[in-house]
């Protein structure tokens, strides 16, 4: 058995053990279902929310709303973050301009700037996407900057020897060489995005997984809260797998050079 198989088997066993523990604790009826509903109750809620909906929308509509926000924010973060990262990584002037701004923005928790974004942009869809996008921006910028700055010197020399201009170096050498780092940045950004989603859906949302969880929490519908959390975890896991597949397709040389 190779180590990859072993890891998978152990992972599956760990998840099974957690589920078993959860089931055992709830089956003993020592804990009020208000605090911890049984796995069966959560599964039943999942089926019910998928079929009949919860809080005026089906689970799929909540999921679609959240996915739309995360994807829009990711697209914006890539479109803005990659060029900014390239400027930081490849140009002393670009670094001087953007590095302090990004470093100042990076450690601020999304909940801190959420009110400001709402004041500026209103309570509509834009402010939600912007809040998630800000959280995703820094990881993509930093990963791109690092990748662009740390291109093997001999590759740059080789391209220069063939007469590449500064722009040609950036587009033909630095950018493709940084692609593995950029995809790592995207993975980290997606993590930050899901983390921020629930906060962004705090304000005036009528749909979304984060909204669904908060709405359920206000009425102490614990099984919906847990179901929502499990759905977010599952979706985030699928995203991670998707980005890894994208990596294998886009940067097949990763780890080989």
């Amino acid at each position: 058995m190779n180590s990859r198989h072993l890891t998978r088997i152990v992972s599956a066993a760990t998840i099974a053990a957690v589920l078993l523990l959860w089931w055992t604790v709830t089956a003993s009826e020592r804990i009020d279902p208000l605090f911890l509903p049984s796995p069966a109750a959560v599964l039943a809620k999942f089926v019910e929310a998928a079929r009949d909906g919860y809080a005026d929308a089906t689970l799929w509509q909540h999921l679609a709303a959240s996915l739309g926000r995360v994807f829009a924010a990711l697209a914006a973060a890539i479109v803005l973050g990659v060029p900014v990262g390239m400027a930081i990584g490849a140009s002393p002037v670009g670094r001087g301009i953007f590095d302090p701004l990004v470093e100042a923005l990076r450690p601020i928790p999304p909940l801190a700037y959420l009110p400001l974004v709402v004041i500026w942009l209103g309570i509509g869809e834009t402010s939600k996407v912007v809040v998630i996008g800000i959280a995703m921006f820094a990881p993509i910028v930093l990963a791109t900057a690092s990748g662009v700055a740390h291109v093997a010197a001999n590759r740059l020399d080789a391209a220069r020897a063939f007469g590449a201009s500064g722009w040609q170096l950036l587009i033909h050498i630095r950018l493709p060489a940084a692609l593995p780092d950029i995809l790592t940045g995207v993975r980290i950004a997606l993590g930050a995005g899901w983390t921020t989603l629930v906060a962004a859906e705090l304000v005036a949302a009528t749909r979304g997984l984060g909204f669904m969880i908060q709405s359920a929490a206000q009425f102490l519908v614990t099984d919906v809260v847990i179901m929502g959390i499990v759905v977010i975890a599952a979706v985030a896991f699928l995203f991670e797998a998707g980005v890894r597949a994208l990596e294998r397709w886009l940067v097949p040389w990763r780890g080989k050079f």
Binding site: A158, R160, G163
Partner: protein
Amino acid sequence: MSDAARHIRLRDIHLRYGTTPILDGVSLDIASGEFIVVVGASGSGKTSLLRLAAGFLKADRGTVAIDDAPITAPGAERAVVFQDDALFPWLTVRDNVAFPLKLRGDRARKAKADAQLQAVGLEGFGDRRLWELSGGQRQRVGLARALITQPAFLLMDEPFAALDALTRAQMQVALLEVWSRHRQGVLFITHDIDEALLLATRVVVLAGRPAKVAQTIDTGFARRVLEGEKVRTVRHDPAFQSLREQILDSLFEPAANTP
């Protein structure tokens, strides 16, 4: 570009890294059709010499010129082949070879790249990815990429140092064959004395710290290999052996460096 012989001339080069002097008054000429091999111990400054000729480095004192024009930057007439091939893994073999032409917007670059791959013995490898190739095949790709612009000069920085002995021997003969067809001026850096004697029309020995030219030896072993003589026979020639000893002496005897 005319057919007249072209020259790279390095004159009285002095170079320091920080406060450490590396090169101390080194002069070197490379003309079209010449195969100049610079040998020296590790850290002797031989790679610096190549980087000066390539235009990656500037001398603290002395002149570096091509056909009497000072070299201030890399130029297309001087192609560089690096020790660790310096290829681009995000491109296919064909696109790696075509890269210099892509920079110029040459639309016929794919066909030219395929022709060049054939010339270095990699016909049919165009669609492969670099990690599917052996070290020797990757160096052939690097050579094809350097040759595709039909440069007047090839600057080769220990291109075969990372290869196993058998592959290196094959690559040496392959390089001589390529060179015999086009007769570029070659500046080839190595620490392998046998390699130097086998390939060069002239061997330049760098020795001392800072380095000076300790010896310059005109040789004709490459011609014999090209005429079909076995490399092994050439190496066992007493003349080859005695030059080998002579170079070893000048590399390791400090007396050889004193003016």
